[in-house]
C-alpha cells in the first residue's frame, strides 16, 4: 500500500513535468475545447484556442486565446479559404509559438474542411514540433452534407498534416453523426461529435499521465493507429461504468461509442490499444473478464497493446479506452466498378488526393511514400487493360460534371473509407434512435437551443411512460418492496434508457 502511494506520487510528479496543451484551432476546434472545458476532461492541461474569427474567440471559455490574421482577416473568419487561413496563421506565427511554448505534448483539435482549420493546422503543427513537443492531431472530417468542396479541402489538409504531426486521430463526422436521432438538429449532431472527441482527448492524455501498472507509451499509440495496409480510419471508444457489473458495462459503453458502432470492425483491425483504468478497488478479475469479452470481438491476428492503470479519481468506476484503426476492406462490389473508373483517374493531375483518402486517416509517422508504393501496382495494372478510354477529355472538358463523377469514381473505386458513409448512412438511419443515450448525455457546449431540445425530448418520453408503467399488472395487487413498486419495469425505475 505504501509503495503504491509512492508510485502514485512519482507519477504525478512526472505528469507535472510534461506540460500538456490542448489546442483548438478554427471554429470546430473551439467547440471541442469548450466541450473539454465543460467536461473537465483534461485536468492540468492548458487549453488554447486559435481562430481568425474574433467573435467566436471571445465567446470561448478557454484560458488562452490567439487571434490569427489580425491584418489578413481583420477579425473575421477565413471564409472557408485555406489559403487565407494559412496566411492568417503565418501572420500570427509569433503568437502561436508563444502560446505553444513549453508544452511537451500537444493535442491539436481541428475541424478540417474550413478555412482556418485546414489552412492553419499544418503550420501550427510544425511550429509546435519546432518547440520540441509531440503533436497529436485530432482531426474531424466534415459531414457529407457540407459539400464536396469542403471534403476535398479537408483531405488536402490531412495529407499535409500527415507529414508534420506525430500522430493523427481522424474522426469522420458522418460516422459520429449516425447515432444522432434523425429528427435531431444539426447542432446536436455536431455536439455528439464534439463529445466523442472530448472523450478521446481525455482518454489519450490520461493514458500518458496516469501511472500504469502496464504502461502504454506513445509508440504503442502510434502502432495502434497505424493500419496494416493502406486505408484505415480511427476506431475509438471510451466507456465508464460503476456498479457490480461495471467491467462489462464499461466495455459495452465503449463499444457502443459511435465510432465503434461497427464493433465488427475490430475484427479487421490489426492493432488494438486497450487501456483499462479504475479506482484502487478495481480487481484483477474485472480486468480479466473485460479483456475476455473484448477479445471476442477481435481477430486472431490482432496485436493487443494492453494498459492498466489505477486512478484515484476513478474510485468505484472503471473506464475502458479502446483505440484502433480499421483497415477498410475493399468490398467485392466496390472493387468491380473500380476497374472502370480507375483508368480515368490515373492520368488526372489529382491522384494524390485519391491515394490520400486511403492512407491519410490515422497514420501517424509512416513516410507518405510507403503507401502509394503499395498501391502503385494496382493503378499500374489497370492502365494496361483500359488505359486509353477517355481519360483527360472528361476532366478537362466537362470539369463541372466530371468533378462530380470523379468524386464518385474515387468513392466507388479507391476510397472505401469515404465511401462507406454515403452508402451506409441511409441504411443506418433507422437504427439511430436506439442510441439516444449519447444524444441526451450530450449537454451541449455551444448554442442553447440543442440543450433545450434534448431536454424537451427527454421530458416527453417520461410523460409517455407515465400512464402505462405497470403494464399487465395494472389490475393486480402491487408488489411493493422497500417502497418500490416492483411491477414497474426495473429499467424505468433505474432511469436507464433502453430504446
Amino acid at each position: 500500500m505504501i509503495e503504491f502511494n509512492h508510485k502514485q506520487q512519482l507519477a504525478s510528479n512526472a505528469a507535472d513535468q510534461v506540460l500538456i496543451k490542448v489546442v483548438g484551432l478554427g471554429g470546430a476546434g473551439l467547440n471541442v475545447i469548450d466541450r473539454i472545458v465543460l467536461d473537465g476532461a483534461v485536468p492540468g492541461a492548458d487549453l488554447v484556442v486559435m481562430n481568425t474569427d474574433v467573435q467566436s474567440l471571445t465567446s470561448s471559455v478557454a484560458s488562452q486565446k490567439v487571434q490569427l490574421g489580425r491584418g489578413v482577416t481583420r477579425g473575421l473568419g477565413a471564409g472557408g479559404d485555406p489559403e487565407l487561413g494559412l496566411g492568417a496563421a503565418e501572420e500570427a506565427q509569433e503568437d502561436i509559438r508563444k502560446a505553444l511554448e513549453g508544452a511537451g505534448l500537444i493535442f491539436l483539435c481541428v475541424g478540417l474542411g474550413g478555412g482556418t482549420g485546414s489552412g492553419a493546422a499544418p503550420l501550427v503543427t510544425s511550429l509546435a514540433r519546432e518547440n520540441g513537443a509531440l503533436v497529436v492531431v485530432i482531426a474531424t472530417m466534415p459531414f457529407a452534407f457540407e459539400g464536396k468542396r469542403r471534403s476535398r479541402q479537408a483531405e488536402d489538409a490531412l495529407i499535409t498534416l500527415q507529414a508534420t504531426a506525430d500522430a493523427i486521430i481522424c474522426f469522420e463526422n458522418d460516422v459520429m453523426g449516425e447515432t444522432v436521432a434523425p429528427k435531431a438538429g444539426i447542432h446536436q449532431a455536431f455536439a455528439a461529435a464534439d463529445e466523442t472527441i472530448s472523450q478521446c482527448v481525455r482518454a489519450v492524455s490520461s493514458i500518458f499521465i496516469q501511472p500504469g501498472m502496464l504502461h502504454i507509451g506513445f509508440d504503442d499509440l502510434c502502432s495502434a493507429l497505424r493500419p496494416a495496409v493502406g486505408a484505415g480510419r480511427c476506431l475509438f471508444g471510451y466507456g465508464e461504468a460503476t456498479g457490480d457489473n461495471r467491467a462489462h458495462e464499461a466495455l459495452a459503453r465503449a463499444l457502443r461509442n459511435p465510432l465503434m458502432d461497427r464493433g465488427r470492425m475490430l475484427d479487421e483491425s490489426h492493432n488494438l490499444l486497450v487501456n483499462v483504468a479504475g479506482g484502487p478497488d478495481m480487481t484483477f478479475h474485472e480486468v480479466q473478464t473485460l479483456m475476455e469479452a473484448l477479445v471476442k470481438f477481435t481477430g486472431e491476428e490482432t496485436q493487443m497493446f494492453f494498459g492498466a492503470a489505477v486512478d484515484q479519481t476513478l474510485a468505484g468506476r472503471i473506464g475502458v479506452t479502446v483505440i484502433s484503426s480499421a483497415q477498410m476492406a475493399l468490398p467485392a462490389a466496390a472493387a468491380a466498378p473500380a476497374q472502370e473508373f480507375v483508368p480515368r483517374v490515373i492520368p488526372t493531375p489529382v491522384p494524390a488526393p485519391k491515394v490520400a483518402r486511403h492512407k491519410p486517416r490515422p497514420e501517424p509517422e509512416i513516410e507518405p511514400e510507403a503507401e502509394p508504393a503499395a498501391y502503385a501496382p494496382e493503378p499500374g495494372e489497370e492502365p494496361a487493360t483500359a488505359t486509353v478510354e477517355e481519360p483527360e477529355p472528361i476532366l478537362a472538358a466537362a470539369t463541372a460534371e466530371a468533378g462530380e463523377e470523379e468524386g464518385q469514381a474515387s468513392f466507388l473505386g479507391l476510397a472505401p473509407a469515404a465511401d462507406a458513409e454515403p452508402q451506409t448512412t441511409p441504411v443506418r438511419v433507422p437504427r439511430a434512435p436506439r442510441q439516444p443515450r449519447i444524444l441526451s448525455s450530450a449537454s451541449d457546449p455551444t448554442p442553447l437551443s440543442p440543450a433545450a431540445a434534448a431536454k424537451r425530448e427527454e421530458r416527453q418520453e417520461t410523460l409517455q411512460f407515465e400512464p402505462v408503467t405497470r403494464g399487465r399488472f395494472e389490475k393486480s395487487e402491487p408488489t411493493i418492496v422497500d417502497g418500490q413498486d416492483l411491477d414497474v419495469p426495473t429499467f424505468l425505475r433505474r432511469n436507464v434508457k433502453v430504446s
Binding site: 457490480d244 457489473n245 469479452a293 403494464g471 419495469p489 424505468l492 433502453v498
Partner: protein
C-alpha cells in the same frame, strides 16, 4: 394396482396449470404416468384473481392429465404460492410430566403446537410447520426423541403461514370441480424435494423456483428447512418489461424472451439486432439484442439482489455448502446461473426434478419441478416413515371440508 398409490400434484401457476400423475412404488420410487397442462388465465403472481376463468383452466389441465395418464383423478395435492406467504423459525417447548419418564408421540405433538403459539396476523393461517431439530434437556441434534428419557422436550420449527382466505380460495377453486384436496403445499417445499437430494440438504442448499409470477425459495441447512418465502416477481415481469421497453405486445415479448433473451450483457456484437418475425404480414421489427438483454438483465439482477437481501437478513447464506439450485420455467433463461453466481457468490446450477422414472420429458423440464415435487411430497407424507424427517410435515389443516 391400488388406487392409493396414485398420487396427483396440481400446481396452479401464473403461466400454466400443471397436473402430474405419478405412481408411488412401495420401494419409494415414483413413476410419472402423465403430465397434463393448460395455459393459465386469471392467475397473477401465483394467486387466483379471476375465479371462474382459472377454474376452467384447471379443469382443462385435469382432463388433459387424465387422458394422458389414463387415470381417474379424484384427489390432488395442491401447490400454493404467492407473496403473502411468510415464514419464520420458532422453538416450542413442553415439560415431560414427573411421573412419566419416556418421551412419547403425544409430547412430540404438543411441542409442535407450542411452537405455533406465536402471533401471526389474524387473517393468516399456518400452512406448514416443519420440524428442524429436537432438543431433549438441552441436548442438541436429537432426531427422534420418542422413547428417550428426559424432563424437557424442545423443538425448532420452521413455520410457514399465509393469508387464510387466499389459500382457501385456491382450495375452493379445485374443490368445486369437484376434486378432493388432500393437502396444500407451499410450492418451493415441493420443488425442493425433487431438485435437492438428502446429501445436498445436509450440506446446505437453496432451491429457487422462478416461475411465471413468483420467485419462491426454500433453504435447507443441516437437512432442515431454515428459510422460505415467495417474491411476487417472476418471468411475467420480465416479459412485461420487454413489452414496455421495446413497445411490443406481450405475446411477442414472451416469444422474444424465450427465443432470444439472455441475462448476459456484453456478449453480443454492438448493434447486433434481432428481427421479430411477424406472421401477420407486418414488417418485422428490429430490436437491438443488447437492449433486450439489458432489460432482462436489470430485472433478473434486481430479483436476485432482493432475494439475497432477504436471505442475508436470516444470516444463513454462508451455510450453503451445496450451493444454489434454480428451477422453474424462468430458470431456462440463458445465463441466469452465471448471474446468480455473480450475485450470491455461491455455486449455482439450473436443475430439474431428479430421481424419477417414467416420462423423461416431464421431469427433465424445470417447468414441472414443482408439480412433480408435489407427488414426492405426497409420497413422503403417505408413507409416513417414522424415521423420515418428512413425516413431520403431516400436520393436516382441517379447513378444507367446507363447501359453499
Amino acid at each position: 394396482m391400488a388406487r392409493d398409490h396414485i398420487l396427483v400434484g396440481l400446481e396452479i401457476g401464473t403461466s400454466k396449470i400443471c397436473v402430474v400423475v405419478g405412481d408411488s412404488k412401495p420401494d419409494g420410487s415414483i413413476k410419472i404416468l402423465g403430465v397434463g397442462q393448460a395455459p393459465s388465465r386469471g392467475v397473477r403472481k401465483g394467486e387466483i384473481v379471476d375465479f371462474d376463468t382459472a377454474q376452467k383452466c384447471v379443469h382443462e389441465a385435469l382432463v388433459d392429465a387424465e387422458e394422458k395418464s389414463d387415470v381417474m383423478i379424484q384427489s390432488v395435492y395442491l401447490g400454493i404460492t404467492g407473496a403473502h406467504i411468510n415464514s419464520f423459525n420458532n422453538r416450542g417447548m413442553v415439560a415431560i410430566p414427573e411421573e412419566q419418564e419416556e418421551i412419547t408421540e403425544a409430547e412430540c405433538d404438543s411441542v409442535r403446537s407450542s411452537a405455533r403459539e406465536v402471533s401471526i396476523p389474524s387473517q393468516n393461517m399456518f400452512i406448514h410447520s416443519i420440524l428442524q431439530h429436537y432438543y431433549v434437556d438441552g441436548q442438541e441434534g436429537v432426531l427422534n426423541p420418542v422413547g428417550m428419557l428426559g424432563h424437557q422436550l424442545e423443538a425448532d420449527f420452521h413455520i410457514i403461514h399465509g393469508i387464510g382466505t387466499r389459500v382457501k380460495n385456491a382450495v375452493r377453486c379445485v374443490k368445486e370441480i369437484p376434486l378432493e384436496v388432500e393437502d396444500v403445499v407451499f410450492t418451493p417445499l415441493a420443488a425442493a424435494q425433487v431438485v435437492l437430494n438428502q446429501h445436498q440438504k445436509n450440506l446446505g442448499a437453496l432451491a429457487i423456483d422462478i416461475g411465471g409470477g413468483t420467485t419462491d425459495y426454500l433453504m435447507y441447512v443441516d437437512g432442515a428447512v431454515r428459510q422460505s418465502g415467495s417474491l411476487g416477481i417472476g418471468g411475467d415481469h420480465i416479459t412485461n418489461d420487454i413489452s414496455m421497453g421495446l413497445r411490443i405486445p406481450m405475446a411477442r415479448a414472451e416469444k422474444l424472451k424465450i427465443e432470444e433473451g439472455s441475462v448476459t450483457l456484453g456478449n453480443c456484437l454492438p448493434g447486433e439486432t434481432v428481427t421479430l418475425k411477424d406472421d401477420s404480414g407486418f414488417a418485422g421489427k428490429e430490436v437491438e439484442r443488447e437492449t433486450l438483454n439489458t432489460v432482462i438483465h436489470m430485472r433478473v439482477r434486481e430479483t436476485f439482489d432482493l432475494l439475497k437481501r432477504q436471505l442475508e437478513a436470516g444470516g444463513d447464506l454462508h451455510l450453503l455448502g451445496a450451493g444454489i439450485f434454480i428451477t422453474g420455467g424462468t430458470s431456462q433463461l440463458r445465463g441466469i446461473d452465471h448471474l446468480a453466481q455473480e450475485i450470491f457468490e455461491l455455486p449455482v446450477q439450473v436443475t430439474h426434478a431428479q430421481t424419477m422414472s417414467g416420462l423423461t420429458s416431464a421431469f427433465e423440464n424445470p417447468q414441472f419441478s414443482t408439480a412433480i415435487g408435489l407427488i414426492k411430497y405426497a409420497q413422503a407424507v403417505q408413507m409416513d416413515r417414522p424415521s423420515g424427517w418428512l413425516s413431520k410435515f403431516t400436520q393436516r389443516i382441517p379447513l378444507f371440508g367446507r363447501r359453499r
